[in-house]
Subunit: 283 residues, 2 copies
């Protein structure tokens, strides 16, 4: 069994990401391993107790998960794959509870934010927790009919809860993109088509425009750009870009080399196959 | 009295931002008004129950506050000033409690993240709450010697707590930048030196490089660039930039006009004086 770590409790969207990604590949039987924190997932991969980890990168509504981006800077870990999961949030309560009777709703802050309009109409107190499935577990354990959790419908089955409302997120098409990570140098989960790169920029924007031009000039498309503060130096940033090419593409290798020559701190986080929905396979 | 809204309870860093910004200006006597959510601050400014609002934009360690960036898209509200506050986190407990006896620590998730190394050594359970001062209030109300809050030292005085440890954040120089908002068209809090602009980009990066070049070509510096998902269209983004010039600068007016001519959706969020530390005034 290939042990693949994810943050959260059974029934979490991250667990679904593990199953979806590895069912699509040929890694053999997979054992999803729940971990308490993102850091625990990275530690497990680094120390070899996990073959892979699956961590969220960004949500189409909430934006990037800053903690993941910071942890990806660890030199001993690479991105080897990506997977996108549709995030349909549901309101889960005890068997026999009713929507009208709910006074308190637990969930992860990002899930609460995704369902803000629904929750505002419901008028219950919202209370943040570390993950959605953990909130469902808590509702089941506390056994109070006036409490509910925002979580995946599948968490209802895991914890014996009832679905009080489905697809309660404000934007119907809500998706989260996850990265599969492995200890370097593991082979990626398929032929490289996309590459994640991080670089520091001394002075925005002259330097940022030049760095981005290095890719644009070669016709290399960026799927995404994200800035994160350096932390120890207030108001300086590093930039993460996803380039739509593998590191085996001579144009991309050339662009990275040029940025290195210019004395920039630049790190390739990984080169991996692009996620395809099952419906795309036919095309 | 000028009523200025902020998110949080008395003793919050946001309250300090209100006092710091308006003490430096000449808006007369100021009444800081605590609000439950960021949205409540924006609503109050929009509806005229608040003359100004002060909301966090970014922390030098944790990064941007996504919710603020999304709320800034409201057409009836403008950025009219900025202020930077040093965020020294402290661990606050009941009078007579000791560091060794703390089993549970409450605070805002970003504050908990800022103090991750200290809290890992402490080995207590960490529990997220909506704000730091609210966590201090809760510790005081529950009256248990094994509970503590991560908050500003000034919150200890507000809620009658004891400082168990000071400056517990991982990066010593931790700062948060806040925006002052007002209903448009209010005059800014001084001569415009910095301008916040948001624009949509259809295809990254060609379009992003061209848009950034529009500023760079005119020698206009960007202090910051931030991306946020469009929400209703997965994996499309809008970009926020802070330009180091006022909208009264013909070069900036020209750059914005060029971007508009190219058919981009572009919005000027506000033009306002740059924040200066008191030590800079002498220079």
């Amino acid at each position: 069994m290939t042990r693949v770590g994810y943050q959260g409790e059974p029934g979490a969207f991250s667990e679904e990401a593990v199953v979806t990604l590895f069912a699509a590949g040929d890694a053999g039987a997979v054992e999803p391993v729940p971990c308490r924190t993102f850091r625990d997932v990275f530690d497990g991969v680094e120390q070899g107790t996990l073959a892979f980890g699956v961590v969220p990168l960004e949500n189409s509504q909430g934006g990037s998960i800053a903690e993941t981006y910071d942890l990806l800077l660890r030199e001993s870990v690479s991105i080897v794959g990506e997977v996108v999961v549709r995030v349909d949030q549901a309101l889960l309560g005890l068997e026999g509870s009713t929507l009208d009777g709910i006074r308190r709703v637990w969930s992860h802050p990002q899930a609460l934010a995704q369902c803000e309009e629904f929750l505002a109409r419901l008028g219950a107190d919202v209370v943040p927790m570390y993950d959605t499935a953990g909130a469902a577990k808590r509702v089941a354990e506390e056994g109070r009919a006036d409490q509910a959790a925002v979580a995946a419908e599948r968490a209802a089955a895991v914890y014996g809860l009832q679905v009080l409302a489905s697809r309660i997120q404000t934007h119907g098409d809500n998706q989260t993109r996850f990265a599969a990570i492995a200890a370097t140098p593991t082979a990626p989960l398929g032929p490289p088509e996309k590459t994640s790169i991080v670089f520091g920029v001394r002075h925005v924007p002259g330097a940022l425009v030049r760095a981005l031009s290095t890719f644009a000039f070669r016709g290399l498309n960026l799927a995404k750009i994200e800035s994160r503060p350096l932390g120890d130096r207030p108001w300086e940033y590093r930039f993460y870009v996803d380039v739509e090419a593998g590191m085996d593409d001579p144009l991309l290798a050339d662009a990275v080399e040029e940025l290195e020559r210019e004395g920039r701190s630049i790190t390739v986080l990984g080169s991996y196959p692009r996620w395809r929905w099952a419906s795309e396979d036919a095309g």
